[in-house]
């Protein structure tokens, strides 16, 4: 039975879709069968990030409505044959998602895959609630910035009251990813540190991802940055995916600027 993980953020533009794509591919690189599902109805984007936009024939709503079978709609990744993708529909109809149909779809995905990663829409509207409804766990993506953190806390609050697991008396696991960390700014006290953010949100840290200009290039090409061995963000996603697969991987210090002369002097006096 597969593990269902929703990737959520509250605020848009913090790197939720990029995170979903990279984690999905990372899990597949760990030799597990993984499917990434775009739940952002009306604003399909995961297909672009994965470089699969030309392969989409059927989407998630067509599968739920019985107009296409799951195997017709699932698209195999060009980069890894353990990774599959299910596209969001581009309909503007917000009522396209219904609990009963989502539950049925997720149950059949659980049979075929080890990991089912759901990319939630931004915001805390019904589309978001439907994404978290049947998830076993949630990955919360934040940037070290006030509006992202506040919106994430609201999204976590809704997760804690609306998820089916919570209604059944169980707990939904929550993991935090802090994305776009600028070490220099954290060092000079201009950016919230990861320990500040953990104090405020009170959930477990899954990983830290540094700011990386290569992300734009990766999305331009439709090749997730995890495939770039020289990218710091790519390496961070690799560690996160391995942690999700149950490996015990060290959390490297991303918030200290390394190698500078002043840094070495400060190190002596510490």
């Amino acid at each position: 039975m597969g593990n269902v993980i929703a990737v959520i953020s509250g605020k848009g533009g913090v790197g939720k879709t990029t995170t979903t794509a990279n984690i999905g591919l990372g899990i597949a690189l760990n030799n597990k069968r993984c499917v990434v599902v775009d739940f952002d109805i009306g604003q399909r984007n995961l297909d672009m990030i994965l470089g699969l936009e030309n392969r989409v024939v059927y989407d998630i709503v067509q599968v739920m409505d019985g107009e296409a079978s799951l195997s017709q709609a699932l698209i195999k990744s060009k980069m890894n044959d353990k990774l599959y993708f299910l596209a969001a529909s581009q309909t503007k109809d917000k009522t396209a998602l219904q609990s009963e149909k989502i539950s049925k779809l997720i149950e059949s995905l659980r049979e075929d895959f080890d990991y089912i990663i759901l990319d939630a829409p931004a915001g805390i509207e019904s589309g978001y609630e439907h994404t978290i409804e049947f998830a076993d766990a949630a990955i919360i993506v934040v940037n070290p910035e006030v509006s992202s953190i506040r919106d994430a806390d609201r999204a976590i609050g809704i997760l804690d009251s609306k998820s089916q697991k919570v209604k059944d008396g169980a707990e939904v696991a929550k993991y935090l990813i802090i994305n776009r960390i600028d070490a220099k700014m954290v060092q000079s006290g201009e950016m919230l540190s990861s320990s500040d953010i953990l104090d405020i949100l009170g959930i477990n840290l899954l990983g830290k991802v540094p700011e990386d200009k290569g992300i734009i290039d990766a999305s331009n090409q439709g090749k997730p940055i995890i495939l770039n061995p020289n990218s710091a963000a790519g390496q961070a996603y690799k560690r996160i995916a391995s942690r999700l697969c149950g490996e015990d991987i060290d959390m490297p210090e991303l918030e200290t600027v390394q190698g500078g002369f002043l840094q070495k002097i400060k190190g002596i006096f510490k």
Binding site: R150, R154, G157, G189, K270
Partner: protein, 78 residues
């Protein structure tokens, strides 16, 4: 060490402001889905003994410590 070398950044301001904003958000929103039903049931029980005008239930969170405060407003005329 050498605090006068450190330029004071705005991260600590962000942390303080966020902590307060989030605490107040949670007070307003973090109620349980069963809250309305529990409230109705408590009113039924108390009503057996004394007149009740209304009940306010609030959830307070302070670090790891969480508490429900139940305030029963009595109805003098009942």
């Amino acid at each position: 060490m050498f605090p006068w070398f450190k330029k004071k950044g705005s991260a600590s301001t962000a942390k303080d402001r966020l902590t307060i904003a989030i605490m107040s958000d949670r007070d307003n929103n973090n109620s349980y889905p069963f809250m309305a039903q529990m409230k109705a049931e408590i009113i039924e029980v108390v009503k057996k003994y004394i007149g009740v005008k209304t009940i306010n239930i609030t959830k307070d969170v302070e670090g790891d410590f969480e508490a429900l405060s139940i305030e029963v407003q009595l109805d003098k005329n009942a």
